[in-house]
C-alpha cells in the first residue's frame, strides 16, 4: 500500500515543464508489453481446465434441459403413471369417502364389494378407486373388478388392457366398448373387458365368469345405478 502511494505521489508531482524524452515513451511501452507477454504465459492446466469446464457445462445443459422441460406438465397433457407410483388404501365407507374428498362417481354398493383408493405417492392426489365384487351362485362365482379414474388427464398400466375393444353396446344410455375373451388355460372361463365414460369419469370394468353372455355386462352396469 505504501509503495503504491509513493508511486501515486510521484505521478502527481511530476512537473509539467519536465523535458520530454521521445524515446522514454517507446521504452515504457516496450517494457509494458514485455510484462504483458510474461503474464500471458499461463500454465497449460489453467487453459485446459477452463476448456473442459466449458464443455461439461454445455453438455450438461444439452442433456438436462430436455429432461427438465419434459418434466414440466403442459395443460391437457395426458400423463402416464405406473402402479409403482401409487399408494393403495382401504375405503371403509365409500359414501363418506366421496363426501370427504368431494368426488362424485357411481360405484358398486353390494355387500360383497370391497373398495380401495389409489393415490399418487408424490402428491397424495386421489387417482382412481378400485372395487372388487364377488358374485356367487350355485354354479360358481364371477369375479368383478371396477376401476374408476377420477384424476383427469391421467393414464395407468391397467388402461392398456382396455385398448382396441372391438365391440360396442349401450346400457342405461351409456355407450360401452367391450370385448369378451376365452381364458385359454382354463378353457371354460371368459374374461370381459368393458370401458365407458360418464360425467367425465372413466370406468374400467373386468369380469371373469364361467358364462359367456352379453347379459353379464348389463347385469353389472345396472348395479352402478346410473
Amino acid at each position: 500500500m505504501d509503495e503504491r502511494q509513493d508511486n501515486w505521489d510521484r505521478i502527481i508531482n511530476i512537473s509539467d515543464d519536465y523535458d520530454y524524452n521521445p524515446d522514454l515513451a517507446k521504452s515504457a511501452i516496450k517494457k509494458i508489453k514485455q510484462k504483458e507477454l510474461a503474464h500471458k504465459k499461463r500454465p497449460m492446466y489453467i487453459k485446459w481446465s477452463s476448456i473442459a469446464a466449458s464443455l461439461v457445462i454445455i453438455i450438461g445443459v444439452a442433456v438436462f434441459m430436455p429432461i427438465y422441460l419434459s418434466s414440466i406438465k403442459k395443460p391437457d397433457e395426458l400423463l402416464y403413471y405406473t402402479e409403482d407410483e401409487m399408494d393403495l388404501n382401504y375405503i371403509e365407507d365409500i359414501n363418506e369417502f366421496q363426501k370427504e374428498n368431494q368426488i362424485i362417481f357411481n360405484f358398486f354398493a353390494d355387500d360383497m364389494t370391497t373398495s380401495q383408493y389409489a393415490s399418487l405417492k408424490t402428491s397424495s392426489q386421489i387417482a382412481y378407486i378400485n372395487q372388487d365384487l364377488l358374485y356367487l351362485d350355485e354354479n360358481g362365482f364371477d369375479t368383478i373388478n371396477l376401476k374408476i379414474v377420477v384424476l383427469s388427464n391421467a393414464e395407468f398400466d391397467f388402461c392398456r388392457e382396455f385398448e382396441f375393444l372391438s365391440e360396442s353396446y349401450i346400457v342405461q344410455n351409456i355407450m360401452l366398448q367391450y370385448s369378451i375373451e376365452q381364458v385359454e388355460e382354463v378353457g371354460e372361463q371368459y374374461q370381459y373387458y368393458v370401458t365407458f365414460m360418464n360425467d367425465n369419469i372413466h370406468y374400467y370394468l373386468k369380469i371373469l365368469s364361467y358364462e359367456y353372455s352379453i347379459d353379464k355386462i348389463t347385469q353389472y352396469i345396472n348395479l352402478l345405478n346410473f
Binding site: 505521478i11 520530454y20 511501452i29 461439461v56 457445462i57 393403495l88 370391497t114 405417492k121 364377488l134 360358481g140
Partner: protein, 311 residues
C-alpha cells in the same frame, strides 16, 4: 508531457488491474473445476439396483418410490405377433391361484410378503390352519377349484401383516431371499405345518419346466426371485387381424412372484412354425393383486426359482 503522464497513469492503474485479473483467473479456474466435478458426478447418475457388498443380499421390492431412481425403471414393451395360425402346444397350470393385494400405505416394498401370502393362500385349501377362519375358494359345477379374489378380510390381512414382520420387509425396505425363506418357514411352523423348498432354476431367463410340471401335478406352486423381469398384463388373440397382442412391461426393479403354471404357444405362417414362446402364469405380487404372465427367454434376470412345499 500529457502523454507521459498518461502512460504512467496507465502503468499504475494497469498494474492494479493486472493483479486483479490474476486473482479473477484463479477464481474462475477454481469455480470451473468445481463445476466439472459436480456435472460429471450427476451425469454418471446412480445405480439402478441396490447393489450390496458381496456378503449382503439383493432386496426384492414392489414399489418404486418416486424420486428414488435407485430401485429401477418400468418400461412399456408391448408387441404383436402376426400369424396364419397358432396353437397352444402345452399348458400345465392350476385353474386359478390366489393373488392378494396391499390394503394400506403403511406397507411398502411388499412383493416378498405378498408372494408368501399367495403361497399360504394356495396351500390353505388343504392346510386350513395356515389362514384361520378363511375359505380360500370353491369348486365350480364344472369340477374346477377356483380361488376367491382378495376381498380384504381381517383374517387374510392379519396373515399378511404377520408375514411382513417375519420377513423383516419394513425393517429393511424390501425382502431378501434368506428372510423370505426364514419368514415363511416360521409362519408355516407356527401354524403347525412344515415348509421346504427345492430349486427349479435353469438360467437367468428360464426355469426347469419339467420340474415345474411335476410340482403343479403334485398340487404345489413355485416362486421366482428376479433382479429384472417382464410382466404381461394381457395376452389377446385378435382373430380379426390374425395377431396375438401382448401388453407387457419390462422392469429393472428386483421382484418376487408366485408361479402357478406355464403355457407354450407356437405360431405358424405358410404351415411353418416360425416362432414359439413360453409363458409362466404368475401372480403379480403388486398392490392390486393381479395375475398375468412372465415370458421365458425374454427380458429377465432370474436369481432363484423355487418349488414350495407345505405339508
Amino acid at each position: 508531457m500529457h502523454s507521459s503522464k498518461c502512460l504512467l497513469y496507465s502503468k499504475y492503474f494497469g498494474g492494479a488491474f493486472m493483479k486483479n485479473a490474476k486473482f479473477l483467473r484463479t477464481l474462475y479456474t477454481t469455480f470451473a473445476v468445481a463445476i466439472c466435478i459436480v456435472m460429471l458426478g450427476s451425469l454418471f447418475g446412480q445405480n439402478s439396483t441396490i447393489a450390496f457388498a458381496e456378503t449382503q443380499e439383493t432386496l426384492y421390492y414392489e414399489d418404486l418410490y418416486s424420486g428414488n431412481p435407485t430401485n429401477g425403471t418400468v418400461t412399456i414393451a408391448d408387441y404383436e405377433v402376426y400369424y396364419d395360425s397358432y396353437e397352444i402346444t402345452e399348458i400345465v397350470a392350476h385353474v386359478s391361484a390366489p393373488s392378494f393385494k396391499n390394503w394400506s400405505s403403511e406397507y411398502s416394498n411388499y412383493c416378498g410378503p405378498l408372494t408368501g401370502m399367495n403361497v399360504i393362500g394356495f396351500f390353505d385349501r388343504w392346510y386350513t390352519n395356515l389362514v384361520p377362519n378363511y375359505t380360500p375358494g370353491m369348486i365350480f359345477s364344472n369340477g374346477t377349484y377356483n380361488y376367491y379374489p382378495d376381498l380384504g378380510q381381517t383374517t387374510t390381512r392379519n396373515a399378511f401383516n404377520s408375514l411382513y414382520g417375519l420377513m423383516r420387509t419394513g425393517e429393511l425396505g424390501g425382502t431378501t431371499s434368506t428372510n423370505f425363506k426364514n419368514g415363511l418357514n416360521t409362519y408355516v411352523s407356527n401354524a403347525g405345518y412344515s415348509f421346504s423348498y427345492s430349486s427349479c432354476y435353469l438360467n437367468t431367463t428360464s426355469i426347469n419346466l419339467t420340474e415345474l410340471a411335476i410340482a403343479i401335478n403334485q398340487n404345489k406352486v413355485a416362486i421366482l426371485m428376479c433382479s429384472e423381469y417382464n410382466y404381461i398384463l394381457k395376452m389377446s388373440n385378435v382373430a380379426s387381424e390374425s395377431k396375438m397382442s401382448i401388453i407387457k412391461n419390462n422392469s429393472t426393479i428386483a421382484h418376487m412372484m408366485m408361479v402357478y403354471g406355464y403355457k407354450t404357444i407356437a405360431y405358424y405362417k405358410d404351415n411353418v412354425n416360425f416362432r414359439t414362446d413360453t409363458f409362466l402364469l404368475v401372480t403379480s405380487s403388486t398392490g392390486t393383486g393381479d395375475v398375468g404372465y412372465m415370458q421365458m427367454n425374454d427380458f429377465a434376470i432370474i436369481d432363484e426359482a423355487l418349488i414350495m412345499t407345505i405339508s
